[in-house]
Symmetry: C2
Subunit: 259 residues, 2 copies
């Protein structure tokens, strides 16, 4: 029987508020068994870029990462946010170890090919080194991944944090029974964006396609959910989308993805 592994991804909104981040990390530290945390960037990168007089460039809701902005996200994601999260987990006796995909060559990516749009130093994940990650897990370390990867050719790459989480889940599902949870500020996927309690409790692929066609699911939620269905197909045991309360109460209302 495979050992259980929890992969939890936290988004920008949980990170931006110091108090909710601190509460989350306290709850996270109490999780038993094997755990991996993946974190996004939050507003801090945009804030630092602005202070450095860099204009953030967005195309269709995606950040364009030129060389200067890559420096900023590397500083903020891999430095400031990752190390502060690790230090707070250590305070709670969770033996966290902060990683980018370059560290231990854990996540290798390719610079996104320019078709219509040049996203700059954006990385699409090619492979995950399951062996190195499991060495860390089996030595009671809790990997904390930021959304920076590399191409094994000396180039760091900015990578979508949701994708980092689902690719880690897919790869690690070969040797662990993986539960993947996306934690954000809402209780789950909402049927009505203006009603916080209109949570869709179960979504399968056919259901997802309908919701997408009807425009009920849109924007940033689309790639997140599509990654999830790929991960389920790759053998990830369960995927949940929930708010921070889910960590301490598995029976709380939230969205579960099913095949």
């Amino acid at each position: 029987m495979k050992q259980k592994l929890n992969i939890i991804k936290i988004g920008g909104n949980v990170i931006d508020d110091e108090k909710s981040l601190s509460l989350f990390l306290t709850d996270y530290s109490k999780l038993e068994g094997l755990n991996i945390l993946v974190h996004g960037g939050g507003k801090k990168a945009t804030e630092v870029a602005k202070k450095l007089q860099l204009e953030p460039k967005m195309i269709e809701g995606r950040r364009v990462t030129d060389a200067s902005n890559l420096e900023v996200v590397t500083m903020v994601y891999a430095g400031l946010l990752n190390k502060n999260i690790v230090a707070k987990l250590q305070q709670n006796n969770c033996n966290a170890i902060g990683l980018s995909g370059a560290d231990g060559n854990t996540i290798k990516a390719n610079k996104r090919i320019v078709k219509d749009v040049d996203y700059g130093f954006a990385g699409d994940i090619e492979s995950v080194d399951v062996k190195t990650i499991s060495v860390l897990l089996e030595n009671n370390l809790t990997p904390v991944f930021c959304a920076i990867t590399h191409n094994k050719n000396g180039q760091l790459l900015n990578t979508n944090a949701d994708t980092v989480a689902s690719e880690l889940a897919s790869a690690l599902a070969k040797i662990y029974e993986v539960s993947l949870t996306y934690v954000f500020e809402k209780k789950g996927v909402l049927k009505n964006i203006n009603d916080e309690n209109s949570i869709i409790e179960n979504i399968n692929l056919a259901h997802y396609k309908n919701l997408k066609d009807d425009g009920i699911i849109a924007d940033g939620m689309l790639p997140k959910l599509e990654n999830c269905f790929v991960a389920l197909n790759n053998g990830v045991a369960e995927i949940h989308i929930a708010n921070t309360d889910f960590l301490t109460d598995k029976n709380i209302q939230h969205t579960r993805l099913i095949l």
Copy 2:
């Protein structure tokens, strides 16, 4: 018999110049056996601090780290420099893993006590977790430490990189035969600061005290050498101060510290 372990610390001047850093990392990647790299900060932190309109505060040649400057050094040392060094080592097939002292609780420090001067968030090292570091080494990973530590109470701390190297060496000497090398832009400790070839080849503690009294060794070299003699007393097998050529030619003229 103990296994050999090389700990090499590179200073600001090797890091500041992209070409010499790249050459160094190529040579470093060819080292056999167990290796740890420690890097300082270089000019980049001051550059970023200036761009963010933070005035660097120095007292007696030491940086005063207020909360804003701690953010900057965490971004630059643990993020930008550490991850770029790791990515370049990975390119050369050296399986590097970047760490701050918070990661895996590898280096615990205490905030420096305020006596005459308040250095802010400056850390004095209390302990090194030899077990976690040796798990990494024994799994063919090469730890790359930046000069950020933590107090195990959620606080990151800015720590002198020379001290990080000597404290790692002292602690790891319990289980490894440690060779510690400080690599910088000069060929060794110079008798005459204006003569690049006036290298003092061997320095023992008595000799060091004379050189200090005569003012031949001064400024930043003093704490570096004092740390070294502590490390030798703690069982570190050998300590060298050399330029980057020493990596590929152990017979090149340089300074060796002896008890």
